[in-house]
């Protein structure tokens, strides 16, 4: 029966390069392993071995990523169609960022409330699953894998945000993120459907060919493009689709916030680069001015929103909105320098945020003030080991020289000017000026305020258990370690940025832009 044979060969399984896919396998396999180990009864296994295994999984992903560097492998290639995923240097760079963020989040979660309430196995398995979704999202080569990866990223995060089940704010945060995230996903899906309808292809390269052959001004395609960008803008917290960010950041357990802030952003920008700068590159003339406007709005909204915040987590949330605006500048110009600048800034953003969030976590545990700015008041005299990383993080986020933040911003402005968007560079600079007002407020609280206000439990603070341990026991060295290492790396790459820039250059080449 020849016809059946023909059909069988037509649906033959796609070719899979296991070596190329190995970094993602480490994350997915790690997730399953952690989940199973977490079922064991022994408390030591649950509380120590499970997070340790999660660390190993993230570290293994990094190691395998280093092994696969510069290989640029096409994965899941079915006959007659293009690859579903592509593990090139851009994907691997996002993988590194996600995994480093993951390692830090695991360390910050080690002795946190959240995993104890959700059960350790589930908590870390969800984190790893979400991380694998981020990597796949950055690797996506067609609309279907893009959407699947996005959901794989999002759903575990919704649960993680609500991980502290007994705290109303945490539940609120999870629910809010779920609803807003679903709206974003739906918008994205609709947009993807329209793009498919217009171009007749789900593959990025197929879409690119369709666009190149005269589709660029097609109303259906542009509508789809707009909806898809809006969907991703929800994830990347680009204004005006950012309203969820402060509430979710504030309500979620701080280690989860940390992970969400650094890793989700990297993945969202990874896919924005692929979708806009590869699939829709020939429609650049149409989407670039709109996206540039969006970037400018985001920069202004984020920075102005952060001004009055007294909660550090809300402040960081607004700042992350502003930083998303800076990052968009690299996407807008659709050039190799732009990709390079975006990737470099994502890495720098990871370091700066890790330092800041680690300090917030530490102070949440050491004081009863929660994440209020009062929790860091007088930190310079009290705990210099925490005050310095926080100072470096704030100065770097503001883009002051001597830190990697300066080089990152320099690179972004350079890319903007190079792509003919000098005005966007000026907007970045104006945003930085506004941002000084709130970043420096934190610095001033740490170093320049002598008297500490009388401790009053903040509304968002975690209620302490009866017979709680004295303050000294709540100084957790692994949290301080994350802060110090991230702070030191921020300064190091501010002085010697070349190692990180070399990685970004490789990643920038991956898209084949000019």
């Amino acid at each position: 029966m020849p016809s059946i044979e023909l059909q069988l060969s037509a649906i033959s399984a796609p070719h899979i390069d296991w070596a190329g896919f190995s970094p993602a396998i480490a994350l997915i396999g790690g997730s399953l392993l952690v989940l199973v180990v977490g079922l064991m009864r022994s408390r030591a296994v649950r509380e120590q071995l499970v997070p340790f295994l999660a660390l190993v999984a993230f570290a293994a992903a990094i190691g395998l990523g280093v092994w696969q560097w510069n290989e640029a492998k096409e994965l899941f290639v079915a006959e007659g169609s293009q690859a579903a995923l592509r593990f090139d240097d851009l994907t691997l760079m996002i993988l590194f960022i996600v995994a480093v963020g993951g390692i830090a989040a695991v360390l910050l979660s080690w002795r946190a409330h959240a995993p104890r309430e959700t059960a350790h196995g589930e908590y870390f398995a969800l984190m790893l699953a979400s991380a694998s979704g981020m990597v796949l999202l950055a690797a996506a080569q067609n609309l279907v894998s893009l959407f699947l990866a996005l959901e794989l990223l999002s759903i575990p995060l919704y649960v993680l945000c609500a991980a502290e089940m007994r705290r109303a704010r945490s539940l609120e945060s999870g629910l809010k993120y779920l609803i807003i995230g679903s709206v974003g996903s739906a918008t994205l899906l609709y947009g993807l459907a329209l793009i498919y309808g217009a171009s007749g292809d789900t593959d990025f390269r197929g879409i690119a060919e369709a666009v190149a052959s005269g589709m660029a001004r097609d109303a259906l395609l542009l509508t789809g493009l707009a909806l898809a960008v809006i969907g991703l803008a929800f994830k990347a917290s680009v204004a005006p689709f950012h309203q969820w960010t402060p509430d979710v950041y504030e309500g979620a357990p701080t280690p989860v916030t940390t992970f969400m802030a650094v890793a989700t952003k990297a993945a969202a920008f990874g896919v924005l680069l692929r979708l806009l700068d590869v699939a829709l590159i020939d429609a650049h003339r149409d989407w670039a001015p709109a996206l540039a406007t969006l970037a400018a709005v985001t920069i202004v909204v984020g920075n102005v929103g952060a001004l009055g915040q007294s909660s550090l987590k809300r402040l960081m949330a607004w700042s992350s909105v502003a930083q998303a605006g800076y990052l968009l500048a690299g996407v807008v110009v659709a050039s190799r320098v732009g990709v390079q600048a975006t990737v470099f800034y994502l890495a720098v953003y990871l370091l700066m945020n890790l330092a800041a969030f680690a300090v917030i976590v530490a102070r949440e545990r050491e004081t009863d003030l929660g994440d209020d700015i009062a929790a860091v008041t007088g930190l310079g005299a009290e705990r210099p080991a925490l005050a310095w990383p926080m100072t470096v993080a704030m100065l770097a986020l503001a883009g002051l020289p001597g830190t990697a933040g300066f080089i990152g911003k320099f690179h972004l402005i350079d890319a903007a000017a190079d792509g003919g968007y000098t005005w966007l560079g000026v907007v970045i600079v104006i945003g930085s000026m506004i941002s000084l007002a709130y970043y420096l407020r934190v610095v001033a609280a740490m170093w320049m305020t002598g008297e500490k206000p009388a401790p009053a439990p903040a509304a968002g603070a975690t209620p302490r258990l009866a017979g709680a341990d004295p303050a000294a026991e709540r100084r957790h060295p692994e949290v301080a370690l994350v802060a110090v290492l991230a702070g030191a790396a921020t300064v190091f790459f501010g002085i010697l940025p070349s190692p990180l820039l070399d990685l970004a250059v490789d990643a920038g080449r991956a898209l084949g832009l000019m």
Partner: protein, 501 residues
């Protein structure tokens, strides 16, 4: 043989960084040692300087960030030689002064103080536009912490945030402008992106680009100086910085801005400089008059000096934007002079405040000369130098500036001359009201101690030395300074330059 510039540049910061981990006394020692060695190096460099050579000397040039075309390029020429020496000298003396004062967390103070020196020296030595911008911003950060941690507790946070944000707003505009310069030059010339000043100088940008870039740079420099109307941060900032830090802040940081005008604005954007010449001259004159009048009105001694600096820097801007060799030479000489004059004046304020129950208000002073003839003499020398008494180096500087200004605009020069008269009014008022007149309510006239003298005498000696021998700075600077304004001068006064040739 010459020492690579990186060593004196980073030595103070490195020494003080080690001091962070040592006891207070050792950290003070390291601060004085680090700044002292850098000062010794600067003296030796002046002696060793080849005055006939036109280009940079003792160049360090490494490609720092290849992807962004940023060079770690340092060099010395006649334009920055004496400003570097000025910075090294004042930081050394003020470090010694600061080391003699007790304060909390002295190691941290020493570190920030030394980091500021490295930032200032870096900005002066940098021969790459991006590096210049980096150092220009970096030198400000330590002062944020110094003022914020050791200033008067009730006002320091607000004041320092104001100072920092005000000045950084200018600097960040400059960052955007600097990057745009590099990118536009590389697009126009087709060469790889490079921020080295020598590469940038080869291509002249179209006038439209030059103009907005020039304005961004001017904003940064005018804020830092400060010049009218961008001086809003000055009164609060001056009241809150501890005096040793304020002395270097006022004496050196403002000069980096003046230097930036000559090195960057006039050097790279000659068309825009000629285009905005009148605007800058008007700003300079308004600064001179406004600063002088305010200096005559306020009673806080710090602010008297602050407003007098506004006026003096108005003169310097006037000299620069006369856009001729005389004016530029006068501007550089006056930069050095003003630094040498204002630093000892702050030392005197500290000494007088210690004798007037901690008050720095002129109304609480008076009769201080009664039992302190040496202090009075030293102060008188400083005051006379401030008002540009003939015989002082300030006289030579102001004379050159006015000479340059007369060539450009007689009206501007005539109005600016009024500033010279006003300077003697506020200079003498400062001296008379503190040292003579009726004895103040809490004034306690005491002679200066040997320790106090160790700080003040070298500063006054430097003034006297330059009064006798201003040619030291003039002759070494001539070649480079003339060159820096050449292109702009040709545009501003085509006839005069043609005649000169």
């Amino acid at each position: 043989m010459s020492i690579p510039l990186s060593i004196p540049l980073w030595l103070p910061a490195a020494a003080a960084f080690i001091g962070l981990f040592l006891p207070a006394a050792a950290s003070r020692g390291l601060l004085v040692l680090g700044t002292g060695l850098t000062f010794a190096w600067s003296v030796w460099t002046i002696a060793d300087f080849d005055r006939a050579a036109a280009g940079l000397q003792n160049v360090t040039d490494e490609l720092w960030i290849a992807e962004l075309g940023i060079h770690y390029k340092l060099g010395i020429d006649g334009l920055n030689l004496f400003l570097i020496a000025l910075a090294a000298f004042l930081f050394f003396v003020c470090a010694f002064w600061a080391a003699r004062t007790d304060r909390e967390r002295p190691q941290l103070f020493a570190f920030f103080f030394a980091l500021a020196e490295s930032g200032v020296l870096g900005a002066l030595m940098a021969q790459d536009l991006a590096l210049f911008v980096l150092f220009f911003d970096l030198m400000l950060i330590p002062f944020l912490f110094i003022g914020g941690m050791w200033g008067p507790e009730s006002t320091r946070v607000a004041a320092m945030l104001k100072l920092f944000i005000y000045t950084l707003v200018g600097s960040l505009l400059m960052l955007a402008a600097a990057i745009a310069t590099g990118v536009l030059v590389s697009q126009q010339s087709g060469a790889d992106l490079s921020f080295a000043l020598s590469d940038l100088g080869r291509t002249v940008l179209p006038e439209g680009s030059q103009q907005w870039i020039f304005l961004c740079f001017a904003a940064a420099f005018l804020v830092k100086m400060p010049a009218f109307p961008l001086h809003g941060w000055m009164p609060d900032g001056y009241r809150n910085l501890p005096l040793p830090a304020l002395a270097v802040f006022s004496a050196v940081l403002s000069k980096v801005a003046a230097y930036g005008f000559l090195r960057v604005s006039v050097g790279l954007f000659p068309d825009a400089s000629a285009h905005f010449q009148e605007l800058m001259i008007v700003l300079a004159i308004v600064s001179i008059l406004y600063g002088s009048v305010m200096a005559f009105t306020v009673t806080n001694m710090r602010l008297v000096l602050g407003y007098s600096s506004v006026a003096q820097l108005g003169f310097i801007v006037l000299g620069i934007f006369a856009l001729n060799a005389d004016g530029a030479q006068g501007a550089i000489l006056q930069s050095v002079n003003h630094g040498l004059v204002v630093a000892p004046a702050f030392v005197v304020i500290a000494y007088l405040a210690a004798r007037a129950g901690g008050s720095e208000d002129l109304r609480d002073m008076g009769g201080m000369a009664f039992r302190a003839p040496v202090l009075a003499t030293l102060f008188l020398i400083v005051a006379l130098a401030t008002l540009a008494m003939p015989g002082s180096s300030n006289f030579v500087g102001e004379f050159l500036i006015l000479l340059g200004a007369f060539d450009t605009s007689v009206l501007a020069a005539v109005i600016a001359s009024i500033g010279v008269v006003l300077a003697s009014v506020y200079g003498l008022r400062l001296y008379i009201r503190s040292m003579h007149n009726r004895v103040g309510p809490q004034a306690d006239s005491r002679e200066i101690s040997v320790g106090e003298g160790l700080v003040l005498v070298p500063l006054v000696a430097a003034i006297l030395f330059f009064a006798v021998y201003p040619q030291l700075a003039l002759s070494r600077g001539e070649v480079a300074i003339t060159k820096s304004v050449q292109a702009a001068a040709a545009l501003a006064q085509p006839d005069a330059t043609a005649q000169a040739k």
